[in-house]
Amino acid sequence: MSAARRATQALPLPPGRQLDPWLTGATLALVTLGLIMVTSASITSADRELGAPFQYLIRQSLYLGAGGVAAAVCYLIPLRVWERGAFFLLLGAFVLLLMVLIPGVGREVNGSTRWLPMGPVNLQVSEPARLMILIFISSYVTRRSKVLAETLGGFMKPVGIVAAACVLLLAEPDFGAATVLFATCLGVLFAGGVRLRYFFSLAATALLALAALALTSPYRVRRLTAFMDPWADPYDAGFQLTQSLIAIGRGEWIGVGLGGSVQKLFYLPEAHTDFVFAVYAEELGLIGVIALVLLYGLVVWRALTVAARCIDRGHIFAGCLSFGIGSWLGAQAAINIAVNMGMLPTKGLTLPLVSFGGSSLVVCCAAIGLVLRASAECNRPPNRSRGRSS
């Protein structure tokens, strides 16, 4: 009987209602926009530098295929598997974060060691590590909700683990990834019931630490001042930001038209990765920006709705994970867009599901797969298994 039940639960398709149409639709819309914009933003520079105008389209399509596989796998694996393996995932995350720092193993690009060479592709370790740590924190909240809600130690233990990971990220250095990881995990702990006075004192401490970190590194200071007034030095420190602002400003209501961006023609660096939003805003205008923000809003809304429903059904792990993923994707998108529009200093964060980049795209797809799985699991008729066993 128990074996039979296990077999039923291991069936490829999760029970209950199938794919959440809103989340699926929003995700598909975002990756499609991503393909189009990566192509448009890179076509000229790819042609010039690589001699192959569609190089980035081809690569992003392959990554998207891998992302689809990752999402399907995550959708098919019961969340219990992740929950049980959370500790090993945490270990794995630390192994990745440490490995990339070993000289000769990690690959350095533009002064940051963020990538592990893996055959034909490079893995940006912070992306899988982020999801793995998020799974661990969710499982921690599930197991220790009582301790977390009542004691400082129950709060400080996971915070310490996350902080350690952040230190490794800062060693790469990857300030943006550290910020997003810390904020997301803190958010999960917040939703998981930590006392507000603990939470706010830690949040304040973290903000102070971030500020201190930002000010200790000269290159970050330069980025910060450039961000305050990019027009003071538009040809050096403020170059990227002013070019990004110009691109967005050129968009007006309806944009200059798909493919019509001028700023992507070597004016705007990183046009197809971190600054793809600027090219998007130039080509599709305010209408396009509103649509994009609404799509991210839809993703966040669905993830939070799934989280709320899972909590109602008693699936604390699924709820925390969905909440964490929703906050992560929403926060990263908001930060990236804010950076593009000059509201935050330049970080090196991608626009999730849209920017060019294999690691980010595959991990984001996997994360969406996890939320879809959570949605499916908690849509199961609530008393079905219990009724049968009693």
């Binding site: 000229t44 010039r48 909700s145 009582k146 809600a149 958010g187 917040f190 939703a191 998981g192 019931g193 538009p234 002013t242 602002l245 110009i246 691109a247 967005i248 400003g249 050129r250 968009g251 007006e252 209501w253 001028v262 700023q263 023609l265 070597f266 004016y267 805003a281 205008g285 305010l286 920006v289 509103i290 923000v293 991210y296 809003g297 966040v300 809304w301 939070l304 989280a307 709320a308 909590i311 109602d312 008693g314 604390i316 709820g319 909440f323 906050s327 929403g330 908001a334 867009i337 804010a338 529009m341 509201m343």
Partner: protein, 577 residues
């Protein structure tokens, strides 16, 4: 159990509350983002677009096509073809200095020299590397995609006729501005107005698209010259071969259309090829036919005869005594080669008598003589408009002394250009009417001014025909089938402190066909070096060759009777429709 359920619902309620807080924060954050987007895309849009334009938009010049110069039948004499000039921004190129070698190879230049050139001009943003490359070569260099290397469309002037019409047409400099000849004279007409356009550039400086045309380039206008390339070529060939054969220093031929005043040909030796700018020899650029002065010598005598007939003191059949073959004027003895005795004034031309011409000139009133010569155009610029044309010199009669008036009769003490002399000869051919000469094709013969009576002109024409006759000095100017009127001149060149002993200018001025003159031709050959220097020996053969060819080219009917030589039958057959 109930405690557990309670605590669970506590957790759930807290989770929901805090989830709501997070949802509100996200909503607020997304709203702020949208607000910022509105600010950037709608409110600051103008500022940002202006900043963008300041980076993207540049005003680029559009080279204007320079008008074509053609001969009277539309044969191209100067045409502009598109070429590309390679220029670099040394600043940008030096940033990619590892590619300088590649560029040097493509340009076929030593790499270290190119690098040196660049490092000497590190602060410049514009530096020509190679001007006027064929567009396909420039494109190949552009395709290397070396940073800081650009091309600029320009036009290069080609002269299909090369040396043949080089002196008249002149040439332009590398920036397409006329420097010499008609290119200079008609520069405003030929040169277009360069246009300007606003272009959108990518960050590498390449124009992506034309945003707007600020000013369309206005192509220059074509110029149809009066030259007939076929006749020009005949004259060029005949002159060149004679100059070479006689080892002469220089020479000119001018051919005028008597009916219209147009210059049909104007050639000089030594020549130069305007397409080849490497050998720059300024002295060779002068269009001597319009700019260089010489004393006309005996070729001036017909004008003295014309003045004499106009004065009324002489008739066509008047006689003049040239005995004893010399006269003494002041300190100077004027001689003939031999004593001709008392002769009709025709003989003064036929035999080129200096004594006869001087006697006649001395017998005339100086003001009257001057006035006739002046109205022939001596001492004045012609209406050719050729840059640097010389006016020549004809002293006013108040400054003449007896000796001046005497030597003037055989063409000394004044100076002319070949063009001026040809214009004056054309007046005989035009029945005494002076038409302004023109280097530009004219649609209708311009208004003429009467200089001498038709009767006088006809008399002088008849007299000049004897020069080519069996007893004349220019038997070699005779044409088969055409009657010719003309006059030789053999002039000692003026030198410091007097006249050179053995440097001569051989001149022949002539008209053909004599019965209905169409062509006025002047040939002047300077300093023949082989001991032969008479106008009748050196200049007259050139006239004959050129006139014969030109008359055939123009399809002028032969006028000599009787037509019984083989040559003439051939010519008649050719000129029949």
């Amino acid at each position: 159990m109930s405690r557990m359920r309670f605590s669970k619902s506590m957790f759930q309620r807290r989770f929901h509350r805090r989830l709501l807080v997070v949802a509100v924060i996200f909503s607020a954050a997304f709203l702020v983002l949208l607000g910022r987007a509105v600010q950037l895309q709608l409110l600051d849009q103008e500022f940002l677009a202006r900043q963008g334009d300041a980076r993207h938009l540049r005003v680029a010049p559009i080279a204007a096509h320079r008008g074509m110069i053609t001969d009277r039948h539309g044969e191209p004499l100067a045409v502009s073809t598109p070429v590309d000039s390679i220029w670099v921004n040394p600043k940008q190129l030096l940033e990619a200095s590892d590619r300088v070698g590649e560029l040097a190879r493509a340009l076929g230049r030593p790499s270290d020299r190119l690098l040196g050139l660049l490092t000497q001009n590190p602060d410049r943003e514009f530096f020509y590397l190679t001007r006027h490359m064929p567009p396909y070569k420039a494109e190949a260099i552009l395709d290397l995609e070396i940073p800081g290397v650009y091309t600029q469309r320009e036009y290069r002037r080609y002269y299909p006729a090369g040396e043949v019409a080089g002196h008249v047409i002149g040439f332009t400099n590398i920036d397409d501005q006329g420097l010499e000849g008609l290119e200079l004279a008609y520069d405003p007409w030929l040169s277009g107005q360069p246009g300007a356009k606003r272009v959108l550039r990518d960050r590498l400086g390449r124009a992506i698209e034309n945003v707007e045309s600020i000013r369309a380039p206005q192509a220059g206008r074509d110029l149809m010259t009066s030259l007939d390339l076929r006749i020009q070529y005949l004259a060029y060939r005949a002159l060149k071969s004679m100059v070479q054969q006689q080892s002469a220093r220089a020479g000119s031929v001018v051919i005028l259309d008597v009916v219209t005043g147009e210059v049909l040909a104007m050639v000089n030796q030594p020549g130069y090829n305007p397409n080849d700018r490497r050998r720059f020899d300024v002295a060779r650029f002068r269009n001597q036919a319009a700019t260089d002065l010489f004393e006309p010598g005996s070729s001036f005598k017909p004008f003295i005869i014309a003045a004499a007939l106009e004065s009324g003191r002489y008739q066509a059949d008047s006689f003049i005594d040239t005995s004893p073959g010399y006269i003494i004027v002041g300190a100077k003895t004027i001689e003939d080669k031999r004593n001709l005795g008392r002769v009709p004034i025709t003989r003064v031309l036929t035999k080129s008598s200096n004594v006869g011409a001087s006697r006649i000139a001395l017998s005339l009133d100086a003001p009257q003589l001057w006035s006739v010569l002046d109205s022939f155009g001596f001492g004045q610029l012609t209406s050719s408009g050729f840059p640097g044309e010389s006016a020549g010199l004809l002293n006013h009669h108040e400054h003449w002394r007896e000796i001046g008036q005497a030597v003037l009769a055989y063409g000394y003490g004044l100076s002319v250009t070949p063009l001026q002399l040809a214009q004056a000869y054309a007046i005989f051919g035009a029945g005494g009417l002076k038409r302004p000469v023109s280097l530009i094709a004219v649609e209708e013969p311009p208004a003429a001014v009467r200089v001498i009576s038709a009767a006088t002109a006809a008399s002088v024409m008849q007299m000049m025909e004897t020069v080519v006759g069996p007893e004349g000095t220019a038997r070699k100017a005779k044409l088969a089938g055409y009657r010719v009127a003309g006059k030789t001149g053999t002039v000692r060149k003026a030198a410091a402190g007097g006249y050179a002993e053995n440097r001569y200018t051989a001149v022949f001025g002539g008209l053909a066909p004599a019965s209905r003159p169409r062509l006025a031709i002047v040939v002047a050959i300077h300093e023949p070096g082989n001991g032969v220097y008479y106008g009748g020996e050196v200049a007259a053969p050139v006239f004959a060759e050129v006139a014969a060819g030109a008359l055939r080219v123009l399809g002028v009917a032969p006028d000599e009777t009787p037509a019984d030589t083989a040559d003439q039958r051939v010519i008649q057959a050719m000129s029949r429709p």
